[in-house]
């Protein structure tokens, strides 16, 4: 299939040898370097993103205490005398959401692992277009810089929630954060979308065209399947976000009325009539819901790979897994309005979206049962990556079941926008994706840096993360059951929620432990990248092609000819073989059946 490309790539490969520092480390077109760039950028964004959550959890956990550290970090505008101001609270919440969803779990997760693994696992020399790939990263970098810069704007960053519903986000009079901060947010997101479109189209083309000889679609590792579907989702949904953003910019600057209608502000009546904020919500969630799966699918792909490798057992139901990835991908486009059951949208639409949303539970359940069956009668090695993956399956279950309640339009009436929702999506999407991202880093670190990460720190990091993660988000379901709305700056403005004071404090304690626990990871990551022990070629004894490449990166990935693929990627503990794994490039024995 891809044999014809070999010559061209060898040719390109020869040209790459004379490299300056700049072309090697900065404007690199090598997919492995770009993956590292994505990862390091995402880690830095992650430090900022979870750091912000620690700051606002201080306010929510101890509403009457002054924290001078807030004034030190945020300035006297935001937290005079260590008291966080409500505008800034909303700004921190908004920036936390935006950074975590887009910059860490979309750019970071998909950007890092799609770039690293697609060429390595399909047996290609590089991405279809190295240049587009490089441009994609630098646009991501630029948008990250702009997003972070908006934290330093005098009137504060965007503070209308990460969904930035107009008119709140459209009118400067509505809140200070809707001024320059919001403009920067919109600018940054537009650039971010351009970046992910360039990345996405590259991934799709590479997967479809550059597979090595014998790498049929049905022999692709599940990671590649999830990256493929993720890229398609991104390609179809992100442009809709851009259109929503452009219309919003026009409403903000050019007196159009796409989203604005019949509004009276402190400066009088606005002229706009006829627009509808609901239109924005539809456009936003048409991206926003596939976005959940853009975050989640790579996580599921990574855990499929790591679980099979560490359980020394084929992933159970390979074809059913592909089927459910495709089903989830398709369904994710027809469920968006379950975020809008109580917006005043037609109740009939609510019925339709309840139905489609609950359908997603079926492929998700299939995936969970397949993971559990993969563990059954396995021979499990608990590498740090495997620990994170088992944790990920657990969060996928625990967060998934509460999704059944929220998907039900009738029940959503009393759960919409409460902490129940916050607990649900942080477990099912936030924790699952971040645990899988950590798993990916621990598992492929030898491939990224040629070094090993420290195992004991990895274990400590894992237990701190999962315990504090559940410690934060399980109690939120209970405050939500008590009717506590999300995005409240104080839960003590009126006494109705006073009985939750201790629960909120507990959440904050776990949040701080969880945030501090990440120090172990950052330390382990940067220390191991420089000083870690050198890795061998195939440390996890895995079957996929990336482990047939040399430890030290070479351009073109394989020094000689591209490997040829003879079998599916999950030949672990196959009867008839002495070793408990058979790499994909090992030919079948004469009488061997494929699987």
């Amino acid at each position: 299939m891809a044999g014809g490309h070999d010559h061209a790539h060898d040719h390109a490969h020869a040209h790459h040898h004379k490299e300056s520092f700049i072309t090697k480390y900065i404007f690199s077109q090598d997919h492995k370097m770009i993956a590292k760039q994505y990862l390091v950028t995402a880690i830095i964004m992650g430090i900022i993103g979870i750091g912000l959550s620690a700051l606002f959890r201080l306010k929510l956990g101890w509403p009457d205490t002054q924290f001078p550290i807030l004034e030190t970090l945020l300035g006297s505008e935001a937290a005079p005398n260590g008291e966080l101001q409500s505008n800034w609270y909303l700004g921190l919440v908004t920036m936390h959401g935006t950074i975590m969803v887009f910059f860490v779990l979309t750019g970071g997760l998909s950007g890092t692992f799609s770039n690293l693994l697609i060429p390595l696992q399909i047996g290609a020399r590089d991405m279809a277009s190295g240049l587009l790939n490089m441009v994609s990263y630098w646009l991501f970098f630029l948008s990250s810089v702009i997003m972070v810069a908006s934290l330093f704007v005098e009137t504060g960053p965007a503070s209308a929630g990460w969904t930035i519903y107009p008119p709140l986000s459209a009118l400067e009079e509505a809140q200070p954060g809707s001024g320059l901060g919001m403009t920067l947010w919109l600018l940054s997101m537009t650039i971010f979308v351009a970046s992910s479109l360039l990345g996405g189209i590259n991934y799709i083309v590479t997967i479809l065209n550059l597979r090595t000889k014998g790498m049929k679609m049905t022999r692709l590792p599940l990671t590649i399947w999830t990256f493929f579907v993720t890229a398609v989702l991104g390609l179809l949904s992100f442009p809709v976000l851009v259109s929503a953003v452009v219309l919003l910019l026009m409403d903000r600057g050019m007196d159009t009325s796409f989203y604005l209608s019949e509004i009276t502000t402190s400066s009088g009546q606005l002229a706009q009539t006829g627009g509808s904020p609901i239109l924005y919500e539809h456009l936003f969630w048409f991206l926003g819901h596939p976005e959940v799966y853009i975050v989640l699918l790579p996580a599921l792909g990574i855990s499929s790979e790591v679980i099979a490798t560490s359980a020394r057992k084929p992933i159970f139901g390979y074809r059913a897994m592909i089927g459910s990835i495709l089903a989830i991908g398709f369904l994710s486009f027809i469920v968006w309005a379950h975020h809008m059951f109580v917006t005043g949208m037609s109740p009939f639409l609510g019925s339709v979206f309840t139905f489609t949303t609950l359908l997603i539970a079926i492929p998700s359940a299939v995936k969970v049962f397949n993971y559990i069956t993969t563990l059954w009668r396995g021979n499990i090695k608990f590498t740090p990556a495997m620990m994170f993956c088992i944790g990920m399956v657990s969060t996928f279950i625990s967060g998934g079941v509460t999704g059944i309640i929220l998907a039900d339009s009738a029940l959503d009436i009393s759960k919409h926008d409460t902490y129940f929702v916050v607990g649900h999506f942080h477990i099912v999407m936030g924790m699952s994706a971040i645990l899988a991202m950590f798993a990916g880093v621990y598992h492929w670190f030898p491939k990224l840096y040629g070094k090993m990460m420290n195992k004991k720190l990895g274990y400590a990091h894992f237990w701190l993360t999962i315990i504090s993660g559940y410690g934060v988000f399980l109690p939120m379901h209970f405050t939500g059951e008590g009717g506590l709305p999300r995005r409240y700056y104080e839960n003590t403005a009126f006494p109705m929620f006073d009985h939750m004071v201790d629960l909120n404090e507990l959440i904050s304690v776990f949040a701080l432990i969880g945030v501090l626990g990440q120090v172990l990871f950052f330390f382990n990551f940067f220390y191991s990248a420089y000083r870690g022990p050198r890795a061998t070629k195939n440390p996890w004894r895995a079957t996929t092609l990336e482990w047939t490449t040399p430890v030290d990166h070479v351009h073109g990935n394989w020094p000689g000819a591209l490997p040829e693929v003879h079998r599916w990627p999950y030949d672990y503990s196959k009867p008839g073989w002495d070793e408990d794994f058979v790499p994909q490039d090992v030919p079948l024995k004469p009488d061997e059946e494929e699987h």
Partner: protein, 502 residues
Amino acid sequence: MNSLLILIAVVAGVAAMIQLVRLNEVTSEARGNHSEEEVTSDENNMMAYGWLIFMFLFFGFTIVLMYKYGYGGLGPAATVHGEKLDWLLELNYWIILPVFFITNALLFIFSFKYRYNKNRKASYFSHSNKLELIWTIAPSVVLAVIIFMGLKTWINIMFDAPKEGDPVIVEAYAEQFNWTFRLSGENNALGDSDYKLNCGPSTFKNSQGEIVSIDGNPLGVVSKDFVLAKYAEIDSSLAQLNRELDNAYSIEGGDYFEPEEYVQEKLKKIETLNVLKYRIQSGIESKLNDSINGMGADDIYLSTELHLVVNRPVTFNFRSKDVIHSAWFPHFRAQMNCVPGLTTTFTFTPHITTKEFASNPEIQAHYNNINEIHNERLTSLGEENEKVDFNFVLMCNKICGSAHHNMQKNIIVETEAEYEKWYECEDYKEKTPVTPRLDLNGKPLVYKGWRADSDEALINEVNMAVANASITEEVPEVEVEVVDSIAVDVPVMDTTVVVENH
């Protein structure tokens, strides 16, 4: 000094960690190569037992939370549909909690049981169509039940309830950061509203030719008097702007001496106001006679708490002045967004009075607890203690700006007799911004009783009154008068000329 200490502590911590990791590496390298690649059997067993311990901690934590905080504090649903919702929620919990415990337990137990053993080989069990079929069909059947029950309840709440039992209509109007209610009065119909008529305090000559003052028309209700009030407000703003422009004009210099932006800003405001006035003239005033629903004359405005009658269905019409808000009634299990430019509705029937609800032992115990915690906090803040009573609450549940967290109103559900007493009491009427408790012909409303629509004859009478109303006859004349009366002492430019200049 503090930050220096913190810095030293951080540096020392990092250095200690580096040394620890090195020590660990050196000792494990002594035991064999590639220590970070091989998971030793000790480590593997430790992690396997770790999963078992974690399972007990995790389930224990969940159960403690359910036991201690499972009672969220809202109490039983206070509405008819809310009871159905709570039942449905419970049904869902009975389905998802077993799934949650069983699948998580399987995951952790399998992880423990099938931990690595070098004498064993994993089974090469890669697929089974029978198993796949089982766990596609089983969830499908369960979900079919969930979907069916859910949609049945949803259709009941959204489609059936509004048509049953003649609901009384109430408007809840949201703005940053407050709620205003409008009762539909004797005719159980809200008068039309238009955001263009939204105005602040105004003094004007009303349609009867009397000079009157109003506190404002915060909901933008349409009536002839409110149109006149808005004109007066616009005209006085225009006069003020023109005065400011005059003051900024130098006759000798023949030009403005204030900066260009200052002048442009004023001119833009003048233009906006003129456009607004034109749109009111063409869009509202000209239709006052026919197409506008004039049912607003008897509407009652409440900036205080809202009173509802127990067992009487109520349909809320939600509107918003500025940004999206969400009306969240946690005790009533009701929620609907308030969207500028759109009227949304939600219908429910409160079936228990505030008093009865508060006397529930569960709620009493809960509020004793809240009082204790609340006053402990007040004491620690050095504030005076207060007694917190139970109340049904309406609060905002869609991020709407800096005081989003503090935008709530009490709702009082009471018996019909209590309601009548409150309704007849004049107190709340003083809070009504304008009190034209007159019908459209300017005659006092004579209807008695709670709702007019229970009586066919009364509905007809109201409709006739609307149809016969002739309320715009004097408008041009009045408008001129108002403008003149304000313009007398202000030598202003002709506003149309200003627009052309601009």
